[in-house]
Symmetry: C2
Subunit: 229 residues, 2 copies
DNA sequence: TTTTGTTATAGTCATTTTGACCACAAGATA
DNA sequence: TATCTTGTGGTCAAAATGACTATAACAAAA
């Protein structure tokens, strides 16, 4: 079974949770299976690991092959290994996640996917296997993480307004936050750099645009800083 | 290969990080391999998953068989799947961790372990495979987690002093904390219940003993509370 | 041109939390 | 009795928080 290096291991798979943020809502990238036992159903982008690739390598390959998404930062969530999670035989899957800006990527379904598109996190269809369970895990992971690390980095466009940032937090935390207080708190963290630019084409007072300062973030991250909301 | 349900899967393993806290220091439970390619070396308690058991089940079985430790809460950390992590063939391992009170457990080496004992985290020997890497991951995970959840629960004896609690935090966070401030902060969280008892056999003023209030903790945990130090 | 609607942004204020301390208490030991 | 060690109660200024109020911009409607 392990004789040919490039052969797949049919008991080890990868599944990806690709989160995006657009029009004030958290989104998830799903693919429609083109073959296999869940043909024509929407599910997490996933596939078999090959004998000669590491978990990370497999995750990047599979995500790219199925959705066209590449050059993202994938992070492992954890393994899911319940006996009955896959109906045919015992399959262990390792879940990865990423946070991206949907607009930065052309979604190109391919490989074992006949289609691929963004779904609002609040209206995800019932997926095959334990994919909904994996999503739930990912969502609570995200909810937890957003409280302690400035993950907004990857979800917002290069330049963003404070309201967009706040909406991102509200959408992940599932709460309303006070605008002036949110603004004050975030600005005091020194992570935001005001661009010399304002919002355009809005039917109200244009907001200041900001961007994240990666350097300052890295400095802070090294000292192990955290923040709460 | 998958024909006999009770057969092991020789490409899937479990490794456990069992942390303990004693005499002011963080400890880790290791076993000495009795067989295999790393015979006589100290390593994380670990073993092969069987075809008919889930990851969690395998973790409990293996930990118990090798060290005698049972009735603990094991939590999955993540999977480690680098191609070269195991010299003979490709093996994916799923790491689990637990926090326990060493005194609560009789360490009984067994199965593939010829010996088992606690090591101070600061003097862990070089271990085979990627076990040191797994430990590093576990330590930073712990460091991060201790800042946001009251994990002390499982590491301290039933009744403990505030100084013991503080030493636990200092030992995980690798810093010194101010005594009166630590005390004030922790007491205000309402998580500690004073026992009507004092420390005994100490060569100085005896400290009040406290215990955790699990109910209050659960209430707080549900609301998603966090704390910082 | 004025009004209206909508979001941006500045600021107030009482309360709570923090960090850095000091000082005394309790008890064992020299 | 003096001294040492750790426990525990407290102060105090500074900073952070949460709940608001008020004003600024500016597009669109009246």
């Amino acid at each position: 079974m392990a004789s040919f290096p490039d052969e797949i291991i049919d008991t080890l798979s990868i599944d990806c949770l690709i989160f995006g943020f657009e029009s004030g809502e958290l989104q998830l990238l799903l693919v429609k299976h083109a073959e296999g036992i869940s043909k024509d159903r929407w599910a997490l982008p996933g596939g078999w690991i090959k004998y000669n690739e590491s978990l990370d390598t497999a995750a990047y390959r599979i995500l790219r092959a199925l959705t066209g998404v590449q050059d993202v930062y994938l992070e492992q969530l954890r393994a899911f290994g319940d006996l009955d999670r896959f109906p045919v035989r015992r399959v262990l899957t390792v879940a990865y996640y990423s946070l991206v800006k949907p607009k930065d990527y052309d979604i190109i379904p391919g490989f074992t996917a006949s289609d691929a598109k963004w779904f609002k996190v609040n209206s995800i269809p019932a997926m095959p296997y334990d994919h909904n369970k994996i999503l739930d895990f990912g969502l609570s992971f995200l909810k937890n993480r957003v409280r302690h690390e400035p993950i907004g980095f990857n979800l917002l466009p290069e330049k963003f307004t404070l309201l967009q940032l706040q909406e991102l937090y509200e959408s992940i935390l599932h709460t309303k936050l006070d605008k002036p207080n949110f603004r004050r708190k975030f600005i005091k963290m020194n992570l935001l750099v005001p661009c010399n630019e304002k919002q355009k084409d809005v039917a109200h007072r244009a907001a200041q645009l900001y961007r994240f300062d990666k350097k300052i973030y890295d400095q802070l991250a090294e000292k192990g800083f955290t923040f709460e909301f």
